[in-house]
Structure formats: structure tokens, C-alpha cells
């Protein structure tokens, strides 16, 4: 049986190249991620750091480890997807061989084992290839994470044998999981199929496919309804819509054998004027397995990538919008504590509210809903010292409980979160972490503030807790209201010449914050989704190459019938473009649903439906997909039509 697997494997190695590569990349990524996670889990913390810096460094390491963990799961999941679609092809191509084995007395169990053996071989090849690639992958990921400032420069990631062992094991498991469905299908091939001239291709919409696809579709409808429902604020809408991007993409890719030909019919009504075009359109509907296999990864990629990018982007834009709505001021000045306090003395300035970032760790004991257990939440950023009166005059924000009026002396205002509840009167621990003024005190919660989208300025403490000397060099930003008849340009000029800081309008400041958030989003998306993009490209190329090789005889027949080689290539290209357009559009439908869901939530929270549709990214993905598919189709169809057609048409299997 092993020998039979081996010979089948060797005979069809072209078919398996894509799957081997995707397992290899998966193994390499798992190895690299493990290496980084192991090193980041027990990181070298430099001596002599103050506790705040140490806390932030640890946070970054945790972030890096989390990111690597997610990347690993994505890689394994997508590799299973590619391996399983490759084997689905392999079984469809070999139905006659498999039936012949049954005729010659092979048991169902033996056919299943045959396929599983091929899966193991594929896993072994992938693991062997992935091992050296892993060392390159660890460099790339380390570089990326350093660029994104998760890891410090010169971070060392020592290799250990178990990283490779776990990675290779994952490769094998991935290959076996991928081949499982195909092996079950192989066992169902009836012996009689060996004798029939027209080997049945087997059904595309298998029962598990139906069940999983419809389940995902139902979840998508549910999530969309939840996102659009009255009670859904921005947080709920974003969470459900991101879920929708995932379930919707999976649903359409699972149901692609139904959806893609349907979309092809619609497309066919629009185009198909020339004979070549009509041939392409007929082929698209006829070659369901081929067009579905090409479109499915595109659907998932577009839905996931654009859906997530759009969600995060909209969240950032909405946060900016919320800041603009909340801040009642004319200018924002960014500088230090000492300098913002001088703003009030300038001509034309009516009110100044300085928000000074305090280097402090605040530990709050919160109620997480379990009466037995209280949890400690630790905050080390977003803690600002304010003048309560000025703050209230420049911020349209109502406390949910208590009042900012009482924010004086040993008092603190905190923001709620969906995860826990803070009661008024709770005593918290606050530790100021500057070498000169290190001290600890225990303020009482006097106000609970509503959650904001930006999450900035989450904890407010009264200014007078700190001496002017302490505050002098802490970073700060001030909201400035002008006198009714003051000339803003003059005030800006006065601030500039007195060197009191960088001045911007509220709008500019909010959009700068948005842009900063967006950059961070893009970085994280690059790490995670770049990977998915790579896999989607591999899956698409894999499907194109396999199906072109499979169509050798069909191409030859078309040429014997009178088409030139150019016409055959052109017809295949038109078909491929149509499939690409269908895949991108179907993914776009999901993205549209995601964005609509988010828009509703943002509108309910802010009164305006501000969303950020990632048009540039969409253009890049669609363009990239067209380029990849065009090149893959052109090259593989050229290769498949190299031999004189008559040799193929007359050849017997």
C-alpha cells in the first residue's frame, strides 16, 4: 500500500507541488512562531528599568507572542484548506484508478489508507522542505515585529529541537486532516466506475459541504441582523461585523460550487459576444470544480482582509469623529505640562484644559460579575491629570455615576468597560513611577465615565495631586477655547512664537490620532493578513495549475476542432478573469455587509455613519488577484498546449 501511495505520489507530483509548498510554509511559520514565542515568553528585561518601562516592555512581548500565536493558527488552518482541495482534485482525477483497485479486490479501508499514506508522504515532504525555510521565516518575522516595535532591536531567538519537532508534527497533522475528507470520498468510489467510459466526476456539493456552508450562511445572517439591531452600539456592531466577514467568507466559499456558476450565468448575459468568449463562458459553467476552487480562496481573502481592514479602519475613523464631537474647543496644543499651563495667559484665550499624561500605575479591584471573586485591573497608560472645571467646560461628557465636580484631593475618575463594573467609592492603588517622585497613594473613585471608542484618557486624576515641578516635563495636550472675537491665526502665531507647543485644529488633531491608529492597524494586518494573502495566492495558483494540466485533452480537442493555440489560451484567460471577477465580487458582497453592519452601530453611537471603506486595499487585492491568476493561467495553459494536439487526442490512458 505504501508502495502504491509512493508511485501514485511520484506520478502526480505536479498535482501535489502546491500542497507541499503550503505545508512547507505552514511548517516554517509554526517553527518561526514557536521560536519567537518561546523567546518572548521569557524575555531578557534589561537591568535598571523603572517599573513603568518594564511593564510596557512586557506588554509588547505579550503582544508579539499573541500575534505569533494567531499567525500560527491561520497558517495551519489555511494549509489544511489547500491540502484538502488538492486531494479533492486528486481523487476526482483518479476515480477510474481507484475504481480499478476496487475491481481488483481492494477493500474500502485500503483505499482510505492509500490516500492517508499519500497525505503522510505529502506532510513529510512539506516538513522536510519547511525546516530550512523556517530559519528564513524567523528572520522575516523578527524583522517585522521589530519594525512594528513589538520587539527591541537585536532580540535573540535561539532555536531548540522541540520547535522543529512540533512544527514537523503540525505539518503531518495538517496533511492528514486535509486528506481526511478526500480519503472518505475515495472509499465511496464504486468498482463499476472503472468500466464506464464516462467516469462520473463525483458530486461537488457533498453533505458536509452543504451542512457547513448553510450553517455559516445562517450565522452570517444572524450576525448581520445583530449588527443592524437597535441595541447594537459601535462595539457590538464591530464585533459582529468582523464575525460576519469570517463566517460570510467561509459560507460563500463552501457554497461556491453553487454560487460561482450562478454568478457566471449573470456574467454570461453581459458578455459572451465572440465565439471564444462564448466558449469561455460555457467552460466556466461546465468546469464547476475548477472555477469554484479558484474563486473560493479569493472570496475568503477579500472578505477577511477587506472586512477586517474596513472594520478596524472604521473604528479608528469613528474614534476620531467621537473625539471631535466630545471636545468643545478651537485648538489643541501638544507640548509638556509646564508649557501648557502658560497658555491661559495669552491674549484671546478664554479657557485652557491641560491633560497631562502621568507616569503612573493604577490598580483597580473590579467586579467581574462573580460575587466570590474580584479581579485586579492594572492600567499603565491613558492616565491624565486634569483641572476638573476646565476639563468639563471643554469636554461634552457626562459621568455615568458620580460627578467630575468631585474630582479633587485624593480622588479618581475611571472609565467603564464591558468586561467589568467599578463602583463609586472604591479605593484604588496608584503608584507614581518616577524616580524623583516615586510614591503610592489610595484615591477613591468619584466618577465613572462612559467608555470611548478611542480608549484614550481612560483615567482622570486631579491636577493638584502633583507639584508643578513634577508636572513640568510630563507630556501633555491642551484643549483651548478662544474669546468670541479672537483671531485664531494670531493666537496660533502667539503660541508658536512663545514656543508653547505644536498647535492644531481639533479636526486635524483627531485625524492625526486616527492616522496613528490606522498605521498600527495596517502593521498588524500586514503580519496576519499578508500571510493569508500568501496562502490565498498559493491556493489560487494551485487550482489554476492543477486544472490546466487536467485539461490537456480538452485543449487538444479544441485545437483539432479548429481553434488556434492563441485562441485556446485567450479563452482560458477570459474564463479565468471571469472567475476572478466573480470571486472578488462575492467577497465584496460580504465586505459590503460588514461595512453596513458597522455603519449602523457607529450611527447609533455617534449620530453619523462614518465608515472607512478600504478602497486602496480593495484595488490592490483585486489587481493582485488578476495579475496572479493571469500569469498562472497563461503559463499553465501554454505548458498544457505545448504538445501537438493530435498526440493527445489519439492517446489512450
Amino acid at each position: 500500500m505504501v508502495r502504491l501511495s509512493w508511485s501514485g505520489f511520484r506520478e502526480r507530483w505536479q498535482l501535489f507541488v502546491g500542497a507541499i509548498l503550503s505545508v512547507a510554509v505552514g511548517v516554517a511559520l509554526v517553527q518561526a512562531s514557536l521560536q519567537i514565542m518561546a523567546a518572548a515568553g521569557d524575555p531578557p528585561i534589561p537591568e535598571g528599568l523603572d517599573p513603568l518601562e518594564e511593564a510596557q516592555i512586557r506588554d509588547n512581548y505579550d503582544g508579539a507572542a499573541t500575534l505569533m500565536g494567531i499567525a500560527m493558527v491561520i497558517a495551519a488552518f489555511l494549509a489544511i484548506f489547500i491540502v484538502s482541495s488538492t486531494f479533492a482534485f486528486a481523487v476526482a482525477q483518479r476515480r477510474r484508478d481507484l475504481a480499478l483497485l476496487r475491481v481488483l479486490g481492494a477493500r474500502r479501508r485500503q483505499l482510505r489508507r492509500l490516500l492517508l499514506c499519500e497525505g503522510v508522504l505529502l506532510g513529510l515532504c512539506g516538513a522536510a522542505l519547511g525546516f530550512p525555510v523556517g530559519f528564513a521565516a524567523v528572520r522575516i518575522q523578527r524583522w517585522l515585529l521589530t519594525e512594528l516595535e513589538f520587539l527591541p532591536d537585536g532580540f535573540a531567538t535561539p532555536w531548540a529541537g522541540w520547535h522543529t519537532a512540533v512544527a514537523a508534527g503540525t505539518g503531518l497533522v495538517v496533511a492528514l486532516l486535509g486528506v481526511l475528507a478526500a480519503s472518505r470520498r475515495a472509499a465511496k468510489v464504486r468498482p463499476l466506475e472503472a468500466l464506464l467510459d464516462t467516469g462520473r466526476a463525483g458530486r461537488m456539493m457533498t453533505l458536509p459541504r452543504w451542512i457547513f456552508g448553510l450553517l455559516m450562511l445562517a450565522s452570517s445572517v444572524g450576525l448581520f441582523t445583530a449588527a443592524r439591531s437597535e441595541g447594537a452600539d459601535t462595539d457590538v456592531a464591530v464585533a459582529t461585523s468582523m464575525g460576519l466577514a469570517i463566517t460570510g467568507g467561509l459560507a460563500l466559499s463552501m457554497l461556491s460550487p453553487l454560487v460561482v456558476p450562478l454568478a457566471g450565468r449573470v456574467l454570461g448575459l453581459l458578455g459572451a459576444v465572440s465565439a471564444v468568449g462564448r466558449l469561455a463562458e460555457a467552460n466556466l459553467r461546465d468546469g464547476v470544480r475548477r472555477s469554484a476552487a479558484t474563486a473560493a480562496p479569493l472570496i475568503v481573502l477579500v472578505a477577511l482582509l477587506l472586512g477586517l481592514a474596513g472594520s478596524l479602519g472604521s473604528l479608528a475613523v469613528a474614534a476620531g469623529e467621537e473625539q471631535q464631537q466630545m471636545i468643545d474647543g478651537d485648538l489643541i496644543v501638544e507640548s509638556t505640562g509646564a508649557r501648557t499651563e502658560k497658555l491661559a495667559s495669552l491674549d484671546g484665550v478664554a479657557v485652557v484644559s491641560s491633560q497631562i499624561s502621568v507616569p503612573m500605575i493604577v490598580t483597580i479591584t473590579v467586579d467581574i460579575g462573580d460575587p466570590e471573586e474580584l479581579e485586579e485591573e492594572v492600567f499603565s497608560s491613558g492616565i491624565v491629570a486634569v483641572e476638573p472645571d476646565a476639563y468639563r467646560r471643554t469636554h461634552r461628557q457626562e459621568a455615568l455615576a458620580g460627578s467630575l465636580d468631585e474630582l479633587s484631593g485624593s480622588a479618581i475618575a475611571v472609565t467603564t468597560s464591558p468586561g467589568y463594573r467599578v463602583d463609586l467609592g472604591t479605593t484604588v492603588t496608584a503608584r507614581v513611577l518616577e524616580q524623583v517622585s516615586e510614591r503610592e497613594f489610595s484615591p477613591t473613585v468619584v466618577a465613572v465615565l462612559p467608555e470611548t471608542l478611542s480608549g484614550s484618557d481612560g483615567i482622570l486624576v486631579p491636577m493638584d495631586l502633583f507639584t508643578p515641578e513634577e508636572r513640568a516635563n510630563w507630556p501633555a495636550h491642551a484643549v483651548v477655547q478662544l474669546e468670541p472675537h479672537a483671531d485664531p491665526d494670531q493666537v496660533v502665531e502667539a503660541i508658536r512664537s512663545a514656543d508653547l507647543g505644536v498647535t492644531r485644529s481639533v479636526e486635524e488633531w483627531a485625524s492625526a490620532q486616527t492616522a496613528e491608529q490606522q498605521d498600527e492597524n495596517v502593521g498588524v494586518l500586514v503580519v496576519l493578513m499578508g500571510l493569508s494573502g500568501l496562502y490565498a495566492a498559493m491556493a489560487v495558483v494551485n487550482a489554476v495549475v492543477i486544472s490546466s494540466a487536467e485539461r490537456k485533452r480538452e485543449f487538444a480537442t479544441a485545437r483539432v476542432t479548429g481553434l488556434t493555440r492563441q485562441q485556446v489560451v485567450r479563452s482560458a484567460l477570459i474564463e479565468a478573469w471571469a472567475v476572478t471577477a466573480i470571486g472578488v465580487c462575492l467577497g465584496g458582497v460580504i465586505v459590503a455587509g460588514t461595512m453596513t453592519g458597522i455603519a449602523g452601530g457607529i450611527e447609533r453611537t455617534l449620530g453619523a455613519a462614518v465608515v472607512d471603506v478600504p478602497w486602496e486595499l480593495a484595488g490592490a487585492v483585486a489587481g493582485g488577484a488578476f495579475v496572479v491568476i493571469t500569469v498562472a493561467t497563461w503559463a499553465s495553459v501554454r505548458a498544457a498546449t505545448r504538445i501537438a494536439p493530435i498526440a493527445l487526442v489519439s492517446a489512450r490512458e
Partner: protein, 253 residues
């Protein structure tokens, strides 16, 4: 357990329909026939008369709608898949016109395949000897695509010879061969019947091939219409021509 006085394969009142409603075709219509152990029977008839269907039902590849098929003492029309698999391992061999061999295996690996599947060890020498006896001793390591159609056919016969199945089903085994290659194949089949007492059921269109068999069965519209023992090629051709004429008149009437 085996009753040797039994026929190797018996069909009792076997019918088989394809399709439903308007498109319904009765491929076999109440077929009763015995294929005696150690005999070689040729099945003939016009195209579409049900020859292949008869073969498939007799071999358990297709289930008869009504009636019974008894293969070496086992009733197979209602046998579960596992039992049919065991039959294919131990009792039945196949040779067809096309698609006989696994493309990724060499000739000798193809020949050894049924025994390997059954977990029986075979010596390389025995495989080579068999391939030599069908005239392909020097092609053992060739893959099917490196062999001509007739050579592929002979590899399939070598495969049936090595496994020595008590019953061999063949569907147009000489269909694609020139007359001298066909002669070689027919001689090999004859050896199997006389030397090892195997039973052969062979569908053919070729009167010459049919005349090599012990008896010839004529099928028309899913029914057995005639049977002849050791007819000459000319007798067979005449009977066949009569049958086809009859069919044409029947259709015109």
C-alpha cells in the same frame, strides 16, 4: 464447501432496468443462464443488447433488480459490499477492453497488484515468468503508457493468470487488437481453461474470438435468444447477422 457439480455462475430470472419513467431502459429481461465450472462462454449480440450489463450483474459489479445471481455457491444479489470485495479478491478476475492498468505502476507491479491487495506474497520470479508467457518478459519495468494497446491487454491477462481466479470476466478483451495480437490473447485464455480449469465469461463482437470459446450465447434486447456449442466462426457470423436482421425487421414492423 464448494459444490463442484454446481455451475461457477448461475443467473436466475435476472432483470435490470436503467433510468426512470420515460427514459427507462430494460437492459436485462429475465435472463436464466448457467456458466459451467471450467468452461469458456462467449456472449454475443448487437450493440446495446445488454452484454456488458449481463457481465456486470454476473460479477456483482451491478446489482440485479430482480432474480438471483449465484457465484460459486454464494448468492450475491443482496450481498453487502464487504462480501463482494472478498469475492473479487478470491474468486473473480477481470479483463476489459480499456483502462485495465494503473498508470503509475510498472507492468510487473500491475500484475502483482491483486495478490498484494489480498496480502499474498508473490515472488518476482513468478511474475516475470508469467509476463514471459504472454510474451512481455522484457517489458516488466515499463509503464502502461510505454506499451501498445495489445501489450497492455496482455499485461491484464497476465494479471488474471497470476491470481488464478476461478472465474474470469472479460469484456471485449480483443476489441482493440489486430488479428495476430488477438490470437495470442485467445490462446492465453484457452490455456487458462484447459490448464487450470478456470471459468471464463467473455463478451465479444468478434466471431473469430467467439468461435474459440466452448459455447456461444446470443443476446438481443436483454434476452437470451440462442445458444450454440463450439460453432465455427462462420456459424457465429451467420447467427449474428440473422439476429441483427431480425432486430431491424422487428423495429420496422
Amino acid at each position: 464447501m464448494l459444490a463442484t457439480d454446481h455451475a461457477a455462475v448461475e443467473l436466475r430470472g435476472v432483470t435490470k432496468d436503467y433510468g426512470r419513467g420515460q427514459a427507462r431502459v430494460r437492459a436485462l429481461d429475465g435472463v436464466d443462464v448457467d456458466f459451467p465450472t471450467g468452461s469458456w462462454t462467449a456472449v454475443m449480440g448487437p450493440s446495446g443488447s445488454g452484454k456488458s450489463t449481463l457481465l456486470h450483474c454476473a460479477a456483482g459489479l451491478e446489482r440485479a433488480d430482480t432474480g438471483q445471481v449465484v457465484l460459486r455457491g454464494t448468492e450475491i444479489t443482496r450481498a453487502p459490499d464487504a462480501a463482494l470485495t472478498e469475492l473479487r479478491r478470491a474468486d473473480i478476475g477481470f479483463v476489459f477492453q480499456n483502462f485495465n492498468l494503473i498508470g503509475s505502476l510498472t507492468a510487473e507491479q500491475n500484475v502483482a497488484l491483486p495478490l498484494r491487495l489480498a496480502g499474498v506474497r508473490v515472488s518476482k520470479r513468478e511474475i516475470r515468468a508469467t509476463l514471459t508467457s504472454v510474451g512481455l518478459g522484457d517489458r516488466a519495468r515499463h509503464r502502461p503508457r510505454e506499451l501498445s494497446g495489445g501489450q497492455q491487454q496482455r499485461v491484464a491477462i497476465a494479471r488474471a493468470m497470476v491470481a488464478r481466479p476461478p472465474v474470469l470476466f472479460a469484456d471485449e478483451p480483443t476489441g482493440a487488437l489486430d488479428s495476430s495480437s488477438a490470437r495470442v490473447v485467445l490462446d492465453l485464455l484457452r490455456e487458462m481453461v484447459t490448464d487450470t480449469g478456470q471459468t471464463i465469461v467473455m463478451v465479444t463482437h468478434d466471431p473469430l474470438a467467439a468461435s474459440s470459446a466452448d459455447s456461444v450465447l446470443f443476446l438481443s434486447d436483454g434476452r437470451i435468444v440462442d445458444r450454440a456449442a463450439r460453432p465455427s466462426a462462420k456459424d457465429v457470423a451467420d447467427m449474428l447477422a440473422g439476429l441483427e436482421d431480425g432486430e431491424r425487421h422487428g423495429r420496422e414492423a
